[in-house]
């Protein structure tokens, strides 16, 4: 068994240990369950705790903990920070951003060093909150709109600005608590809410659990014992390592990928308008009147603001983290069903009359769960067949009966009517797509039967790629380009293994010989270190670097794939290594 596998198991065991400690030490008590259907059984996990843990297993995870005072939201974020990063609780406490309407940039983000400012020097001192890995914002909706904007750029681009300086917040995990509206709160705009990847409602514990809470030691008097009650189990590096393990090892099979597409698509779909731009007419103001799909069972007529592309990406990220936590190597559609309500509910806006109805009584999560389940039920019955028809459509292999079925399906499924049918139609009517597709197919067949000379076929692919990419009007261009890139990446994948010391010797020469500026920067930034991983991704080239430590003898693994550029990089590195010997 490789050490990488052992590392991974150890890390998972540590995460499970944290969950166990939180429960057994009664640090956060809650009764709600996250039910994950796996094959024929149901796995029950503590809902809030699991979602909060998942948030740390996702790079730059951002989580909203919504609920009334005293539910333990901030405490949960703090104790997880202690156990998952090993940071002392006092330090975590110091870095918490406690929001209030008068919070200024100077208190929250940064300020000039006063002593040096007196001598005319503008030196920015960044706040603990900005610098810390484990970020907590307490009562985020008490931030004024201006401060929301400041934080928006942190969440959106991972940068914060102060004066003329910019701080790049590279790796972090963020938890924000949110209280119900009161006199001191501000509304939070949809784009700001969209930056929070998941959100959970923290409700008061049920009576038996409250009984448990009453029986425990008074934390106000003693605080938490950092050796026994909230011990340091993991480190920041280990969390970052898990991010990479998840990214490297957890796959999202085509059917799961399609389910995400189908789910988000079904929430966005409308045969009349693009809802994201529907300013004057929406589902509760006449948009759906007399529409064929305006029925109680439909999903489309209940969504005012559809989820963004970011939501789709978050669904993928959090489902992958759940798969890893459960010890799976791929994302099953049921994992997506489990996390979807918490990725979506806070980003969606529902008509009030629907939300008020029984059995929702204003509970947005419940309504979101119900809608996700409806889409999943439909997907479970028809998803595979719809995907098959789409694939046949792209491959120009649709029969008359496929087309009849598609037309029929479009009368029953708004997603097919708005997203699938028009695309399939435009592909089948575009003669240029057919011409290009034939050429792509020819290349793929040559690769399949193994009758090719690598350099010739790569230059053939490159030529065809540039032809297709410069043709602005061809339908389904992304599909053709993706097929070609997939082919070229699988053809040119090379792995280089060398000692870190050897890399350090060739690094400067390599940078000199490489043409692309961003690539030069990438190679320049490779420094090594414990559990070091770095990734460079451009459409035409991908490089993945792993280095286990910063020792000169550590073996550095570099995977390179892509077209001509990838080959050139590979050959240059090999040549420089030969010269060393």
């Amino acid at each position: 068994m490789s050490s990488a596998v052992l590392d991974e198991r150890l890390l998972r065991r540590k995460v499970n240990m944290i969950m166990n400690i939180v429960q057994s030490n009664k640090l956060f008590i809650h009764h709600e369950l996250l039910r994950v259907r796996v094959e024929r059984r149901i796995i029950n996990l503590p809902l809030i705790l699991t979602m909060a843990i998942l948030n740390a297993l996702v790079p730059k995870g951002t989580m909203l903990l919504y609920g009334g005072h005293g539910g333990g939201k901030t405490t949960l974020a703090k104790i997880l920070g202690r156990m998952m990063t090993g940071t002392p609780l006092k330090k975590i406490e110091r870095s918490i951003l406690r929001a209030h309407p008068h919070l200024t940039e100077e208190k929250a983000i940064a300020r000039f060093d006063v002593a040096r400012l007196m001598s005319g020097e503008e030196v920015v001192q960044w706040s603990e909150f900005v610098k810390t890995f484990w970020k907590i914002i307490d009562e985020v909706n008490r931030l004024s709109p201006h401060m929301q904007d400041v934080l928006f750029s942190l969440l959106a681009e991972g940068i914060v600005k102060y004066g003329s300086e910019v701080y790049e917040v590279r790796d972090y995990v963020l938890y924000a608590t949110l209280n119900p509206k009161d006199v001191g709160t501000f509304p939070m705009g949809a784009p700001f809410m969209d930056r929070f990847s998941i959100a959970i409602q923290v409700t008061m514990p049920k009576a038996p659990h409250l009984f448990d809470i009453l029986g425990r030691r008074d934390a106000k008097l003693y605080g938490f014992d950092e050796d026994t009650q909230v011990p340091a189990i993991m480190t920041e590096e280990e969390i970052i390592n898990i991010w990479h393990i998840i990214d490297d090892t957890i796959t999202v099979p085509e059917e799961s990928m399609f389910f995400i597409t189908y789910l988000i698509g079904s929430f966005r779909a409308c045969i009349r308008t693009n809802k994201e731009n529907a300013e004057f007419l929406n589902v509760d103001s006449g948009l759906c009147d007399n529409c064929h799909f305006n029925t109680r069972e439909s999903v489309c007529n209940k969504i005012k603001t559809p989820p963004s592309v970011r939501a789709a990406k978050d669904l993928e990220r959090y489902s992958k983290a759940l798969a890893w936590l459960l010890g799976y190597d791929k994302v099953l559609p049921n994992f997506i069903v489990a996390v979807a309500p918490f990725v979506l509910w806070h980003r969606l806006d529902y008509p009030e009359n629907i939300l008020r109805e029984k059995p929702y009584y204003g509970n947005k999560i419940l309504l979101t769960k119900d809608l996700v389940q409806r889409v999943f039920n439909r997907y479970a019955r028809r998803g595979r067949r719809i995907l098959e028809i789409i694939d046949r459509g792209w491959a120009l292999k649709l029969t008359k009966s496929d087309l009849d079925e598609l037309n029929q399906e479009a009368k029953a499924d708004v997603f097919v009517a708005s997203d699938v049918q028009p695309i399939i139609k435009s592909i089948s009517e575009d003669s240029r797509y057919a011409t290009y597709y034939k050429q792509v197919e020819e290349i793929l067949n040559m690769i399949k039967v193994g009758r090719f000379d690598e350099k010739t076929i790569i230059s053939k692919i490159d030529d065809l790629l540039s032809k297709i990419e410069s043709d602005v009007t061809v339908t389904g261009k992304h599909k053709l380009v993706r097929e070609l890139y997939n082919a070229i990446f699988s053809l040119t994948k090379r792995t280089i293994k060398m000692k870190l010391g050897e890399w350090r010797e060739i690094q400067i020469d390599l940078i000199k010989q490489i043409p692309l500026k961003s690539l030069k920067r990438f190679f320049k930034d490779i420094i090594g270190g414990p559990l070091y991983r770095k990734f460079y991704g451009m459409p035409e080239i991908e490089i993945r670097v792993t280095i286990p430590s910063d020792d000169d003898n550590a073996i550095m693994t570099m995977d390179i794939a892509g077209g001509k550029l990838a080959l050139r990089v590979f050959e240059t590195i090999e040549k420089l290594r030969r010269n060393l010997r």
Binding site: N290, Q408, A412
Partner: protein, 191 residues
């Protein structure tokens, strides 16, 4: 075995199953669960209500007598398809429904008669189109013929007789080429 005697509950259960199968046949359109009743005294039959969220009502006491279990299932599946067909095929949506009624009203003047005609027109379109999708499907006329037309045609009111005849003509005109010999014979018999 002919003349299957089924309990009320069994009949309702079969109707539910067959409605679900019909939903599957149409790739699960977003319409609600049907309202299935067993009420011999009710004037309700089989219908879908576009103005009430496309809710289908199936009064299973109208299942023809003397059928085998398989025939009962076939009948209920086909009736369910017919009703769902109104959502999928004609009138398809409320706007189309209103357009058909107003077109009829322009000719006959009375709203009530226009409604009647619009329903009949939608039935015909539904039957013809559905027959193209499910070639084995009987047309709605068969349902009537099973119970009413063979034995009780003479008891039908003149209006119903006229409308059935109108329906046959429309159906024949629209779908002449698809008519089987059996059906043609049946139409002739009714004439």
């Amino acid at each position: 075995m002919k003349g299957e005697k089924l309990s009320k509950d069994m009949l309702i259960e079969i109707a539910r199953d067959m409605f679900n199968k019909a939903l599957e046949d149409f790739f699960y359109p977003p319409i609600p669960e049907p309202r299935i009743i067993y009420d011999p005294k009710s004037s309700e039959g089989f219908y879908i209500d576009p103005e009430n969220d496309w809710k289908t009502t199936l009064n299973v006491t109208l299942v023809p007598k003397g059928l085998t279990l398989d025939e009962i299932k076939k009948f209920l599946r086909f009736v369910s398809r017919h009703e769902i067909g109104h959502y999928i095929i004609c009138p398809y949506d409320l706007v189309t429904s209103i357009l058909i009624i107003s077109a009829a009203k322009k000719v006959v003047g009375s709203y009530e008669i226009a409604m009647f005609i619009a329903n009949f027109f939608a039935d015909v379109i539904d039957d013809v189109e559905r027959n193209g999708i499910f070639p084995g499907d009987p047309i709605i006329l068969d349902a009537f013929s099973t119970r009413d037309l063979k034995n009780e045609y003479k008891k039908l009111s003149p209006l119903i007789k006229v409308l059935i005849r109108v329906k046959e003509i429309l159906w024949t005109e629209i779908n002449l080429s698809k008519i089987s010999k059996d059906k043609r014979d049946m139409i002739n018999k009714i004439n």
